[in-house]
Symmetry: C2
């Protein structure tokens, strides 16, 4: 039962929901709109990223904010990932309760109620948890929460100090500001200073390679300045962790980052596909699609059943990947408008399936309770698994 500490607990929720699909079903019978994973493409992306990191001796800690799925997190760890990242306490708890064994909240948590939930999990679950900090208050509250929950073992949690490497959001300024916080972490036996969290979010979607190189050069200098200040203060920096699908070859080549937090590579989306690629980046494939169908027809347009309650449009509208020659225009929350890009392209008829690539994969997944995993391709494959989005909506 809930109490004043706000600690979470599992509960059974009975709510009417349609059976999304069943294992063995042909792709053509999957109802719409549905998020479908091309598992063959996903497996290739998974292997490419794992190989990239392994070949360079880098740790891979994929960001699970993309899929919010305990099953996919465990799959990534089975292929060599050291664990996963999340952004929120409740994502961490949902995945830990789903059996994920190593979770880094790559974000700050300073609310006592959230830290109490986390500390209870640190005490009770086998998962190893890590967290980011950027304030003295956050460190003090974390230590207090662990103590209150009765966590006595030394170095129960890894703590990374976040540095603002150019995004202008969370994190300390580069340089000496990290010294005081690193010392404060060292005052608490339950905490281990594990290094620096350095992620340049805005750089990920800079279209040209030159822009991204410039951004990560700036990030590298910020990290180096901070590391030098800590070293000068006698504090070793065990690890620098960060990077995203748009920038990771740059962090990898810098010699500064030891761990990559790429997330979107697993599924890809239209926004990332629009980036000028880095020559060393693996050629990730689109693996996440929206299956939709036409439910109304006009003379010059068709209407499909996928609107922006089915896919996130914060980074642009979805693109039609099949059939050829169609452009998707905004049709509101529950509809999409399809028009021919050239005069001769036939519009799909009532009931015809259309496949879309989402504009932005992470928030698109967050709109769905489950994803349908298909083996053997979208044309003639079969449903192999239903992937539950365990941490769907978990923003607390």
């Amino acid at each position: 039962m809930p109490d004043g500490t706000g600690m979470g607990h599992a509960f059974t929720s009975v709510r009417w929901q349609r059976a999304l699909a069943w294992v063995g079903q042909g792709v053509s019978v999957i109802d719409t709109p549905t998020l479908v994973i091309d598992l063959d493409a996903m497996d290739r992306n998974l292997a490419r990223m794992a190989a990239f990191a392994a070949e360079r001796g880098l740790r891979l800690r994929p960001h699970a904010k993309l899929h919010k799925s305990a099953e996919l997190a465990r799959l990534q760890m089975a292929h060599g990932a050291v664990g996963v990242c999340v952004q929120k306490t409740d994502e961490a708890l949902a995945l830990a309760h789903g059996g994920v064994g190593d979770i880094f909240i790559s974000n700050e948590v300073i609310a006592p109620a959230k830290l109490a939930r986390l500390a209870q999990a640190v005490r009770e679950l086998p998962t190893r948890f890590a967290i980011a900090v950027d304030s003295a208050l956050g460190i003090a509250r974390l230590a207090a929460a662990l103590a209150h929950a009765g966590v006595e073992r030394p170095q129960a949690m890894d703590v990374f100090i976040e540095i603002d490497v150019g995004q202008g959001r969370c994190g300390l300024p580069p340089g000496g500001a990290a010294v005081a916080l690193a010392r404060q972490i060292g005052d608490h036996p339950a905490l281990r200073f594990a290094g620096l969290q350095a992620y340049h979010g805005r750089a990920q979607h800079l279209r040209t390679l030159a822009e991204r190189q410039q951004a990560i050069e700036g990030a590298t200098q910020a990290v180096a300045a901070t590391r030098d200040a800590l070293t000068a203060a006698g504090i070793a920096v065990p690890l620098v962790t960060g990077a995203g699908t748009g920038s990771f070859p740059l962090e990898a080549a810098s010699g500064v980052w030891g761990e990559l937090q790429t997330g979107s590579y697993l599924f890809m989306d239209a926004d990332y596909a629009a980036n000028e690629p880095h020559p060393e980046a693996p050629a990730f494939e689109h693996a996440l699609f929206i299956k939709t169908q036409v439910m109304s027809r006009g003379v010059d347009h068709a209407v499909c059943d996928a609107g922006h309650k089915s896919h996130a449009i914060d980074s642009g509208l979805p693109q039609v990947t099949f059939p050829d020659g169609l452009l998707y225009a905004n049709g509101g929350d529950e509809h999409g408008l399809l028009r021919a890009t050239e005069g001769g392209t036939p519009l799909p008829e009532l009931g015809e399936t259309v496949w879309l690539i989402p504009g932005h994969c992470d928030p698109t997944v967050n709109l769905h309770d489950a994803l349908v995993g298909v083996r053997g391709g979208l044309a003639a494959g079969r449903v192999e698994r239903i992937v539950r989005v365990d941490a769907r909506g978990a923003a607390g």
Copy 2:
């Protein structure tokens, strides 16, 4: 169990979820980010809309795509609404299983699997269902689905023909195109031609009253032309249904619409608040808020824990309603950036609560499994009820 007809069924889903709040809790203890309903404001909005319709002898059928909640739908019906509207089959089924007794799918459904689910519900549940059509194929498939499900009673479902009154999405062209479909509906004893669905979605957010007046004048002519064509063909039009929160005084004054489908009035949002109001429109209040808190601080900005996985930004960013003097800027999926609008405004400190008004209420609600209803205001009120978003994610 699922079978080839794709019929839905209830199932128990066990997934880790944090207890969102508990009845009796003070507002200050609600964790973040959370969608909070100011129940006092909501009740006033509910009463104002009910009074507007009643005073004019108009039917009120609120659109439940806003709240997707069986509880709120039943509350609206307890205050005089004849039923509710939804956009999708699975919304209808979720709300019917939640005890809502009259549901109009104000949208076309032509997929046999969806119609089979609907037909099963028509046969088995006490709910009265209605649907919109805009194609001969849709009517034929609907009739076939009802027959296949063994629905034998006459006029088991009301059917509205949708007319495109200027939105350019679904619906027949105005005028005589409706005659053939109305005759086709009349061929099926299980169906009753109930009138015309006429909704101008794009008009709702036209900022000036003059623009909205022009749009609804066009819509009125389209409906009148269609009604005249049907009358000339000897087919009576029992009802014209449509209108939204942005336009409804115009449809009400036209003498053509007999039923209003306003939805967003119950909660309001920043986008609707930006419209030039109609002099006859009730002064609806904001009743839906995002409670968020500061989790990181910079010199010139604060970071809160509500990003666009917590609130939809398709129609603009949220606005800060408390404290004064802050502007919300996009901080990504899981964060928001808060800056002072004027030099002297103090930024909120770590842990301080900030209240936001969402840009667009419908898709914001759809991101959450439940809403926390507070009585007695946001400053010092208490949690009175947790409103489950029964049809969250139901887009099929």
